[in-house]
Every structure is written in structure tokens, then in C-alpha cells.
């Protein structure tokens, strides 16, 4: 990613007012929140408010449309916070409690800094927000996280593919397959949600080898039996819990938008489901009944070997 560092320092002579000691810093964060800090004497600010709420004297606009931020007078001045609206591309600032010129420093988190001199209650020049800090719409979030969820299974998640194929190799009868897939889906949805909300937590050093081991287990059991044993669903459910934690680890690395947390979480999970159904669909074609008998054993051995290899590999690294 190309980082643009743009520093515009206007000459001090550009201001029509005397330059005061007030300083204003605006920061636009990747979690789509913003904060503006006015450093000035809080006693002076209180005097000029004449009892008004400070928010009446602070003017924040995105794309020229005013928004109402949260604003409080602190010991150091004024602290203004809010969420960047979707599709916001430029930010403008004004406040009418300064009688002197001051410097406004604008920062796009990790994208550099711009500075402007502002005369008293003058409006700032529009400040362009980078793509990173412009929040997407809900529809865009759904599309993005559905895709991320799907691609996390196909093609990126070979371990999850093998697990699902392993479930399929036991039987092609719809009822046992449905029971297993439902148990798996329910389980990984629960731990994905709980982990993302920080309610459960297990180190990837445990989760990742355990996922690999679960693949080996399923494949080995496929070699032993062709029936859906009562414990199989429970075991698949338990493994589902592990896989959910694995998905959460990936999702945490991708990052979730704060304002669309649930949308993104549900979309990602739905994407994962889509990926699994796709794998089952392809497997159903590949392992059609007439070849199935010849394929189950070598495929299960291969999957079991891969699972065991990954288990050892993940334990070592």
C-alpha cells in the first residue's frame, strides 16, 4: 500500500487574525470513528459558552452535510467524537469559540498529516478521507464479508474442505449427512460469535493442531464404519466448536467494522456456509454412488494422513 504523506504548511502571514495559542487536532480512525481535540483554556471556553452546550458551537460536516457529534469541555479544551458516516469523502470543521487564528492538524490514521491555518471562526478547507477510513454501506459490508467467508473455505481453507469431505465420505444418505453438517454449522457459529465478542478464548496453538487432528479423526472413523454412530454427531459438534474458533482467528485478522459488527459477523458465517455447501455439492458429483466404494478407503487414508501430518506440523511450529 502506498502511503502518502502530505504536509501543507501555509505561511503564517496567510491569517487575517493574530495567531493564538489554540491548537486543534482531528484524527480519522480505521474503525470509522473520528476525534477532534481543541487545546485551549477551558475557563475561556466556559466563559464564551454563556451556559450553552458546547456542541452548539462546534460544526462538523461530511461531504458538506452537518452531523451532530458528541462534544464535551475537558480540562484541556474540547473533546469532540463521532462516527464517520458511510460514503463520507471529505470532512470540514469550524468552531466559533476562537478569536484568533489557530492551526488545525488533520490526520488520516497512518496515512499522513495535513495542516491548515484557520482564522477564528472560519470554516476549514475540505479534508479528503482515504478509502480506509470511509465506512462502506451495509450492503457493501455484506458482500465483502460473504466473499471473505466463502473464500476462506474455497479455495483457501483446505483443512476445512478435507473435514467436510470427510463428513461426506461416511455416507451419501441425506439424513446422516444433514445431521452432521447441521451439528458442525451450529457449533462453529456459536464459537465464532462467542470468540469475536471476547466471551471465549483459546490459543491458536491449541485450536489449529486440534482442527488438524479432527480431520484425521473423521477420516479414520470413516475407515472403521459406514454407519452414523450416535457419538459421531456429538464429536462433529465438538470439532465444529474448534473450527469456529479457527474462523474467529481469521476474522480477527481481517478486522470487523465497529459500526457493522453483527452484519459482518453474520455475513462471514454465511459465506463460510456457502463454501461448505459448495464443497458438498462438488463432492456429491465426484463421489457418485458407483465410484464411492472404491474411493472411500484411499480418500480417507489420504485425508487422515494429511490431518496427522498437519497436526504434527502445527504442534511443532
Amino acid at each position: 500500500m502506498k502511503r502518502a504523506l502530505l504536509i501543507v504548511l501555509l505561511a503564517t502571514t496567510a491569517s487575517a487574525h493574530e495567531i493564538g495559542t489554540t491548537q486543534v487536532f482531528a484524527v480519522f480512525k480505521k474503525d470509522h470513528s473520528y476525534a477532534v481535540d481543541v487545546y485551549a483554556s477551558s475557563a475561556t471556553i466556559q466563559k464564551r459558552l454563556h451556559g450553552d452546550p458546547v456542541v452548539k458551537h462546534v460544526f462538523v460536516a461530511f461531504n458538506g452535510i452537518p452531523v451532530t457529534p458528541h462534544a464535551v469541555v475537558t480540562a484541556d479544551g474540547i473533546h469532540v467524537t463521532g462516527e464517520i458516516p458511510p460514503h463520507a469523502e471529505v470532512f470540514t470543521w469550524r468552531y466559533d469559540l476562537s478569536y484568533s487564528a489557530y492551526m488545525l492538524t488533520l490526520e488520516n490514521e497512518s496515512h499522513g498529516v495535513t495542516r491548515q491555518w484557520l482564522d477564528g471562526d472560519a470554516r476549514s478547507a475540505p479534508f479528503p478521507l482515504t478509502r480506509d477510513v470511509i465506512p462502506p454501506t451495509r450492503l457493501a459490508v455484506i458482500r465483502q464479508y460473504l466473499t471473505l467467508g466463502f473464500t476462506h473455505i474455497v479455495p483457501k481453507g483446505l483443512d476445512h474442505i478435507l473435514f467436510v469431505v470427510g463428513l461426506f465420505l461416511l455416507t451419501t444418505r441425506i439424513k446422516p449427512l444433514l445431521a452432521q453438517v447441521t451439528a458442525f454449522t451450529l457449533a462453529h457459529s456459536i464459537t465464532l460469535g462467542l470468540t469475536m465478542y471476547g466471551l471465549v478464548s483459546l490459543s491458536p496453538r491449541i485450536v489449529e493442531p486440534a482442527i488438524a487432528l479432527s480431520i484425521a479423526y473423521i477420516a479414520i472413523e470413516n475407515l472403521m464404519t459406514t454407519e452414523l454412530k450416535p457419538w459421531r454427531v456429538a464429536v462433529v459438534f465438538a470439532f465444529g466448536l474448534l473450527h469456529g474458533m479457527g474462523f474467529a482467528g481469521v476474522l480477527r485478522e481481517l478486522g470487523l467494522p465497529r459500526r457493522e459488527f453483527i452484519t459482518a459477523l453474520v455475513s462471514f458465517n454465511a459465506g463460510v456456509e456457502g463454501g461448505q455447501l459448495f464443497v458438498i455439492g462438488v463432492a456429491a458429483i465426484l463421489f457418485a454412488n458407483k465410484w464411492r466404494a472404491r474411493i472411500v478407503a484411499p480418500a480417507s487414508i489420504l485425508i487422515a494422513a494429511t490431518g496427522l501430518f498437519w497436526t504434527v506440523q502445527r504442534l511443532i511450529t
Partner: protein, 249 residues
């Protein structure tokens, strides 16, 4: 003629003044000389900016000298009064350019008693035009250090200047000088720091004098704005000179 106004107009142009850490320093004491811009005695600190300073001096019984300070810092100056008696601190800025929409400019002219400029603009057919103005500050502060000769009526020869002539309990007489000559008919306003809405408005007489009866003890500001045609080379139509004098009664 003295008029007491209990409601302050909404100021559109800002006052400028010197706010020392004390108006009654001891001899040898280091005091802070703050510059303030604002209205109703409610000012923003102005940091020392050498590009904005034409003169920043003190004249006390030890003579006249420049006031030192740290660039970019508030207070703009640090001062040690070396001999007992009256000391005048003076700050003369360089000029700045300001453009205002016509209605704001004319409101400010009314606030500052500059109706003659409103008339002049009307005569030139410029009443609906935005103002193009250069302005500068000519501000002073009167300090009294210990007991000593309190002579402070010698002008600093600023282009526009309020010179304290006599100060007694409850009263002050000043002279208003423009280019070192008495200016008649200038609006001169006194404002108390703790009660800035109480304003005493006086027009200077033919000798440039304005006398104030001050109803309260404490810290006062006397201010006046002079406006003349700007030099053709400045790119502005008008030039304003903002004088103020702060002192403690």
C-alpha cells in the same frame, strides 16, 4: 459627554490588549506580559511572533528598552521593572489584511464609532462592496512599581496612541494622539475587566482629551479605533489602527 451602555454590541472585530501578570509589580520582580485578542475582556492568548512585532518596549524610570520573550510562547514578553514608579509597556504590531462582507464591516464601523467611514463609503458608492482593510495594533499598559515618580504622560510615538495624563482614585484623563497630534471626536471606550458589559463611551475633545469617571476599582481597558484611507500601494481601501491602554485603579 459620557454614555453608560449596559448591553455590549456583538463585536465583529476583535479588541487587542496587554494583560500583565500584575499591574503593581515590585521593583526587580519578573512579570509576564501577555498579549490578548478577543472581546469583552475575554481574550485568546497571542504567542510572541517576531514577524508581527514592530515594537515591543517598556519605558520606566530606568529608560526605554525592548521586551524579551520566547518566540512562539505565551506570555509574549517577560519584564523586570528596574526602578520604582510608573512604567509604560507598549506593543506595536505590523499590519495585517482583512476582508469583510459589507454588512459586517459597517456593523463594526458603527460599533467602533466610525460612522464617518460609513458616510464616506456611501458617497463613493461602495456601501455594498466588501471591505478591504489593513489593520495594526498600538496597545499599551500602565504599571506602577513600588513608590516613586509616577510620570507616564510621555507618548511612545505610536501612530495611534492613548496617553494617560492623570490618574486619581476613581478617574483617569487620557489624550488621544494620531501621528503624534491630538485627535478630536474619536470614540474612546472604557471597560472594566470584571464587568465588561459596563462601558463608558466618551468622544475626545478638540485637544484630543477624554476624561473618565470610573465607578469601580479594579482593572480597566480604554480603547479606540482610528480609520483612515489606506495607502494606494497596500491593496486595501481602509487602514485601521487599534489603540488600547490597560491599567489598574
Amino acid at each position: 459627554m459620557t454614555i453608560l451602555l449596559l448591553v455590549a454590541p456583538v463585536a465583529l472585530a476583535h479588541d487587542f490588549w496587554i494583560e500583565p501578570s500584575t499591574f503593581r509589580p515590585s521593583v526587580g520582580e519578573m512579570i509576564k506580559i501577555g498579549l490578548r485578542v478577543g472581546q469583552d475582556w475575554n481574550g485568546d492568548p497571542v504567542a510572541r511572533d517576531s514577524t508581527q512585532i514592530d515594537k515591543f518596549i517598556v519605558r520606566d524610570n530606568a529608560g526605554e528598552r525592548a521586551i524579551a520573550g520566547f518566540e512562539g510562547h505565551d506570555p509574549a514578553g517577560l519584564l523586570r521593572v528596574e526602578k520604582a514608579g510608573g512604567a509604560i509597556v507598549g506593543y506595536r504590531s505590523t499590519t495585517k489584511f482583512l476582508e469583510l462582507p459589507p454588512e459586517k464591516f459597517e456593523q463594526y464601523l458603527r460599533d467602533e464609532g466610525l460612522e464617518r467611514i460609513i458616510d464616506a463609503r456611501a458617497k463613493r458608492g461602495e456601501s455594498k462592496k466588501p471591505s478591504r482593510e489593513i489593520y495594526s495594533r498600538c496597545v499599551k499598559s500602565l504599571l506602577i512599581a513600588g513608590d516613586g515618580p509616577t510620570k507616564f504622560d510621555k507618548p511612545l510615538r505610536f501612530r495611534y496612541e492613548i496617553v494617560p495624563v492623570t490618574m486619581t482614585a476613581g478617574a483617569i484623563d487620557v489624550r488621544v494622539l494620531y501621528e503624534s497630534k491630538p485627535l478630536a471626536g474619536a470614540l474612546v471606550v472604557a471597560m472594566h475587566r470584571d464587568d465588561p458589559l459596563l462601558r463608558i463611551r466618551v468622544r475626545s475633545d478638540a485637544k484630543g482629551r477624554a476624561s473618565f469617571q470610573l465607578p469601580k476599582r479594579g482593572v480597566w481597558m480604554i480603547k479606540s479605533v482610528q480609520m483612515i484611507a489606506a495607502p494606494a500601494s497596500s491593496g486595501a481601501d481602509w487602514e485601521s489602527l487599534w489603540a488600547s491602554l490597560t491599567f489598574e485603579q
